[in-house]
Structure formats: C-alpha cells, structure tokens
C-alpha cells in the first residue's frame, strides 16, 4: 500500500493512466464507428466508407472535424441550461465507468508495480452499475429540455427502457457476484483462472448481453431514436458537437458493457501468457482487447440482422420474460452457492 512518501508518484501514475485510457478509448470509439460502418456495409453488400484514406480509414477523423465545424443550432424554445447539461452528463458518465475496468494484470517499471486499471474499487461493479444508471439522465433531460414532441417521446421511451432493462442487467450481475463473493472486478476476474464464468452462468450471460443491448439503445432495441417514427428521438434538436457527445456516449457505453461482459463472464484479461517479462505483462491486455472487440463485432452483427421491435413489445419482453428468468437464475444460483458452502 502506498505510504504518503510515494503519494506524488501514485498521483502521477494515475494521471498517466487516465490520459492513456481516455486517449485509447476515444480512438477506439472513432474506429468502432468505422468498423460498424464497414461490417454493416459488407453484410448489406456495400463498400461502406472508402474515399477518405485507404479503405476509409481516415473517415473518423473527417467526421470529427465535421462535427467540430458544423453550426451549433440551439432552438429558441429550449430550456437552455438543461439543454447544455444533457450531452455533458451523457458523455461524462459514459466515460466515467471505464475507470474501474481492469484491462490487464500489472506492469512493472523500474521496480514499481502498476496495476493495469485506473482504480480498483472494492465496489467496482456497483460503481459501474450506478454510473450507467445515471446515464439515463442525459437522455431523459435531453428529451425534456428540447421542448419538442419527438425528443420528448424519445426521452420518455428511453428512460422507461433503461430502467426496465437495468433490473434484468443488475440481476444477471448479481448471480456472478454470488459465485465470486466480491464486487471488485479485479477479484472477479482473478477467480476465473480455472473456469470462466460463462460455463457457470450461461443463462446469466444471455440475460446480461440482451439487457446490455437494450441498455445501450442498440438495434433491435434502438427505439429512443427510431427514425421512422421519432425523427432523431431524444437528440432530434441537437447538432454539431453536442450531438457528437451523445454519439460518442453511445459508443463508449457499448465499450463499457463489452468490457464488463468480458470481465464478468469471459475471464477478463486471462489467457495464455509467455515470453519475456514485458510481453508477459502486455499479452493480457491483448487478450482483453480481443475479447472486447469480439463483443463489439456481435453488436454490429446484430444490427445488420434484426429489425427493430415496437415499443410495447420491448417493454413486454423486458418485464414478462427477462425479469422472471433473471429472478429464477438468481434463485437457482443462490441455492447452489448455499448448498456448496454448507
């Protein structure tokens, strides 16, 4: 543990990690958008972005520039402070939850061991759930403050959807916590050294993944922004960088739930490790990244394959199917855990 003599060093280290993680995350988001456009395009027999850079690789850069230079339109009748606050909230909260995700074991530089995680909270999992729940406010407030019917519908739908699916998501996570006996993500990952949780909790994983798709407003649960009926949904009135913040928040959330799925069910950074010390400490990061990428691919794949549900069908599915199954799963898991510990 850190004594106050190496407090400055700790601070510096954490700051460095924050900068690196944030930088990687932002770049990753830009290229997830690129990957999404490419993958969906190929599913639909198109080329996707192709003109900016080789295979459209510079497209994200062009998009970012475009968002920065577009006119920022604030409609007359909006509730200005909240209209400004909403994208900030969505953006900040989406990026906050990444701070407790462990993306590797640890790295040793000049005698100092640095855990590859911004901070290892002992209630890390709770922290993620709390922060993602708060994310609803961004969407709900955007819908409310726009003072227009389509955003309002989008905002209301989204709030209802997120709250409904949050329950099943939470319950799916509870079953993992029951097995691990810890809320720290690092510990949950460490405990999967023998067997990944996906083998112990296949149903829990299915529930988690379905709920996560709904949590991130992705197809087939992308009702808050169903353009066919709600124009742009909650962000109809947003433009320029305020819109980009919602956009990035959505993709950051995708990354977060994928990281969480990896940590909870697929053994996080665990994987074969070999070679010299530096490679040994960096390989886990690679395994982690690959697993997360696989999840992101599944997300995109789903988008290319499924049509959108209708709002009442989505809510019906959440409350009538997901929630009872999740409850049964928790019940079953606790019975087994209790029986084993006796």
């Amino acid at each position: 543990m850190a004594t106050h003599s190496d407090l400055p060093l700790l601070l510096l280290m954490t700051l460095a990690k924050v900068v690196v993680v944030l930088g990687v995350l932002l770049t990753a988001i830009a290229y997830i958008v690129w990957m999404e456009r490419k993958v969906v395009a190929h599913i639909q027999s198109r080329w996707g972005p192709y003109l900016v850079g080789p295979h459209g690789l510079l497209q994200p850069l062009a998009d970012a520039l475009k968002f920065l230079f577009k006119e920022d339109i604030v409609p007359d009748e909006v509730d200005r402070p909240i209209f400004w606050l909403a994208p900030l909230l969505a953006f900040t909260l989406a990026f906050l939850s990444i701070s407790v995700i462990p993306f590797g074991e640890s790295i040793t530089i000049a005698g100092h061991t640095i855990p590859l995680q911004i901070t290892d909270l002992n209630v890390g999992l709770l922290f993620v759930l709390a922060v993602t729940s708060l994310g609803v406010y961004g969407v709900a407030l955007a819908g409310w403050s726009s003072n227009s019917k389509f955003p309002l519908f989008g905002g209301l739908r989204s709030s209802a959807q997120l709250i409904s699916y949050e329950l099943s998501l939470g319950l799916a996570v509870v079953s993992v916590v029951l097995i691990a006996g810890s809320l720290s993500l690092r510990e949950i990952v460490e405990q999967q050294r023998g067997l990944w949780n996906i083998c112990k909790q296949p149903l829990g994983f299915l529930l988690y993944f379905t709920a996560a798709v709904a949590e991130t407003n992705r197809t087939p649960f992308d009702l808050p922004e169903a353009e066919a009926e709600l124009v742009g949904g909650y962000h109809t009135e947003y433009s320029s960088f305020k819109f980009a913040m919602f956009f990035m928040a959505e993709y950051a959330n995708m990354v977060t739930v994928s990281c969480l799925a990896t940590s909870l069910f697929f053994g996080g950074w665990l994987g074969p490790v070999f070679g010299p010390p530096l490679v040994r400490s960096l390989l886990p990061v690679l395994w982690f990244a690959l697993k997360v990428l696989a999840f992101l691919f599944v997300y995109i794949w789903i988008r290319g394959t499924l049509p959108r549900f209708r709002y009442d069908q989505l809510m019906g599915f959440g409350w009538r199917v997901m929630l009872p199954v999740a409850l049964l799963n928790v019940l079953g898991t606790s019975l087994i855990v209790a029986w084993r510990s006796v």
Partner: protein, 568 residues
Amino acid sequence: MSTIDQATVTRVKQVVAARSDGALLSATEPHADTLQFAIEKAALRAVVEGLVNELQARFMISVGTDRRPVTGDFAILHLFSLDHEHLYVLLESPVPEKDLRIESITEIIPGANWAEREFRDAIGIHPEGHPDPRRLLLADDWPEGTYPLRRDFPYNFQPPSVENVRPQLREPPAGASVVPMGPFFPVLEEPAYWRLFVEGETIVGCDTRIFYNHRGIEKLGDSVLTYNEIPYLAERICGICGFIHSTCYCQAVEKAAGIEAPRRARYIRTIMLELERIHSHLLWLGIAGHIIGFETVLMQTWRIREPVMWLCEEISGNRKTYGMNTVGGLRRDLPNQTKPKLLETLAEVEKETIAVRNAIVGDTTLHARTKGVGALTNEWAKKICAVGPPARASGVAIDARIDHPYAAYDEVPPQIATQEAGDTWARVLVRVGELLESIRLVREALSSVPDGPICAEIKEEIPPGRVGVSVVEAPRGEAVHYVLTGGDNRPYRWRVRAPTYPNLQALPAMVSNGTIADVPITLGSLDPCFSCTERLETVDRRTNEVRVYSHAELLEISRRKARGGGTR
C-alpha cells in the same frame, strides 16, 4: 376482350332507368365495355345509390368538365366499374352555370370524398351535403373563386397569393394532443402532412393535408400539349411506375379514337408493365424494411432490383421514364437479342426474391411488427374503394388485369392471390406473391411475343367528343385515365386517378387505435406515392400566426442566414 354478358348490360340499363325516374337524358354505349348515361343532376344521387346497392358498382373517380365553349354548361361525371362483369358505367350530369351545385354522393360512397372536393376546387361545382368543406387540391393561399381547370383559366396564369391565410386543419378532440408527421418526415419520401391525434401513444384520430405541390398535369394536357406529346408527360406523373400512366393514357385515347394497337405492341407493353411491377415491389419491400429498422432488407432488395433497372435501360435506353409509348402502339421495339439476357436476369432475380421471401416469412420479429397492424377491414376497403394490393390483402378480389383486360393480359392472364386478414403482414404477402407472379408473366409473354408492326397507322384525325376510359393495374393498384377527345389535336379533358388516391383515404381508419410506432409501417404498407413540394409553412408559437413563405422569401431568408445576419 373478355365477354360482356348482355343480360348485365340490360340490368344496368333497367336500374338506371328505374332510379332516374324519367330524368334520364340519354343512354349510349361508346364502347362494348362502356355504358354512358346522361342524367339530370336532381336524379344523379338516386341513380348512384341504385348502382352501388343493387349492382355493387365500385366508384372509381369523378370528372368535372367545363363544357361552356361546346354546350354552354358544366358537367360532372362519376365513373364506376362493375369489376366481375367487365363493365364501365359512366353517369354524367349537366350542371348549368347559373346553379353550380350538385348533390354529394360521399354519404353513399365514403371513397368519393376527395373526388368531390377536387372538382369543387378545380372547376367550382359545389357538392351539396359534403361532410368536409375544406380544400383538397388548391393551396391555402390560392384566391377564392379562381378555378384552374376552367377553360377560361390560362394554363400559365399565376393568381396573386392571398396573405395571412390559416391552413384549414382540424383540431384534436378534447384531451388529445397532436403529433405531426410531415410535411417532411424521415420515412416519407414525399411531402404529406398527417396530424395524428394521440392520447399517450394511442392514436384516436388523424387529419391529412396533402397535394402540397399539384403540378397541373391535367391542365397542360388539355391546353398546351398534343395527343402524342402527352405520353411523355403522363410518364412523369409517377417516379416509379411511369410506363403505367403512359400506357393507360395511350389506351384511353386509342379506345376513344377506335385505334387498335398491334398485337406485338400489346405484348411488349405487358412485358414493360410487369418489369415495372417487379422493380417497384422490390423497391417497396426495401422501404418497408427501412421503416421498421431492418436496413439489411433495404440494401439487399435494392441490390436485387438493380439488374431489372439495367434491363429496362437496355430495352428503352432509360432506367426509368422509357419514352416508349405513343398513341397507337410503341416507338421502340423490343430487340430480339435482349431476350436471352432478360430470361437470365429474371432467373437470377427470381432465385434471390425467393431467398428474401423465405427469410422474411420466417422472421418472428417481422411478424410481431406487422401482424394485426393497420388492419383494413373488407367492408371498409369496399366502401372507401381501395384498390390494388391493399384491397386484395383485405379480401377484395379486384385486379384491372383480369377485370378489364388490356395490353396482352387477355392471352397471358395473371393469377391473383388474395388474403383475408387485411393487416400489414397480409399486404406484404400479397406483394411478394405478385412479385413472383410478375416474373412468370414476363417469361410467358416473352415466349409468345408475335412478330409484326409495333405501331398502328393512324390516317385520320381523332374526332372530337369521343370518350375513352382505360385502367391499368399499377404496382400500387388500379390507375384510371379518362379522355374526352377535343379539337386542336388534343384532348378536351384528360382525367388521371392514381392508385394511391383512394388508398390514402383508407389510412385514418387503419391507424386508428394503433400506436404512433405503427403509423409509418401502416402508411408504408399502402406503398404511397405523392409528389414534390417547394413550399414551407411555419407557425409562430407566440402569436399563433401562421405564415406561408413563398419560394422567393425562403431564398431570401436562407441567403441572409448565409451572409451571417441570422434571423434569431
């Protein structure tokens, strides 16, 4: 020509004679399948009632004609079809200039609602007892008392706009609020304004404003263009099924003038019409997928559709707007060397369409989104005079290709399938079935195209005062063209009714009690086709003042904005 039962003809005459009660002015048979009756306007309503109740006649459209230069009066003509008897019945009433009123028939036929509002707007004959006093066709800032389809209204005359007009929109019932869909909306390719009255997300009513840009095509047809120029304009009525309109117009003129298009021309018309149906239905399937958030269906069906467009280009030189039709036949032959390629492409399209069909039929999410959604009952479909796939999906077995055979459909008859459910899913099934049937029809027609000329020789001028009615089964339903021949080598009156016209009138009943989320797909399942716009309407929320900006004003505002002097 399918055989017309003389007993039916006699029966129609009896019903008209009995109901008109001595007010029958004349009864003529311009063509074997067309019966025309002139009736005094006081008895018109009674005769319409007789036709509908006793003979189950289907209302098609009303035509208002300004006959003042010829007979000194106006005339209203109601067009009916006895589908299974292969007959058209035309009821005409003279309307004197001194008393521009006629009894409304909307009470008997709900589907006549728009037709009557339209002749009120365009000719100025007032349908008495019509439930809706609002405009349909004319813009809100069009001056009162100016009727564009009258003969003394020059085609290029622009009346001054009326300032500060309020759009005539209905208010929602107490407790309901309005969700606007349109005039511009992401899933509507064309402008239309639906005011949905909602309680929560449940729809309790709806109001419509369309005709945002009436292009005055009929007016051009009877004032500027000549018989053989009109096919090119007719083709531009629709952005998808243009060939349907040019064929329908040519057939109406051919019928009126007694010209027989050669057999080969009729076969080639059939082939082109069915190719158009194939690419139109594939386009629709994609749009329907897009509406319910299934982008992959959109991309795939449009990819499958593309070779059909190339074929059309190879045959006519254009992907769309072929310019092939002319009065009396065709301008351009079907080159024999395209035949093998045509068959090859069709086989490929068929294979892929079947793959898409199998994928769609088994998709449970699609079922959930479309089954029981936007149901159109059989009874209402008949009353509102729905046509095409929406009618057939509601169990109304009508198809112009069978009921009033044209082109070569008497020799290559289609097999039509109906569904009973009347919901969006039924409309999907009907269209997918038709798609495959069209492929079969093209093949069959191709194998039996006779040799010979492609255009009839027309030696005499087309005599004035003749009537021709023609229908064509467009992908969206039955298109109707009515031509009354005139002098100066042009029609005296040319009336067009596109299939969306009756079908859109069915929408309010279909979306009622549904949710907002169902409206786009319900509207989409009608495969609507409107037209383009250039106007914008704004409401100032502080003063509730409604302003309609002119094109020049909009241009000015946008330029001012661009120069940096914002209007905020």
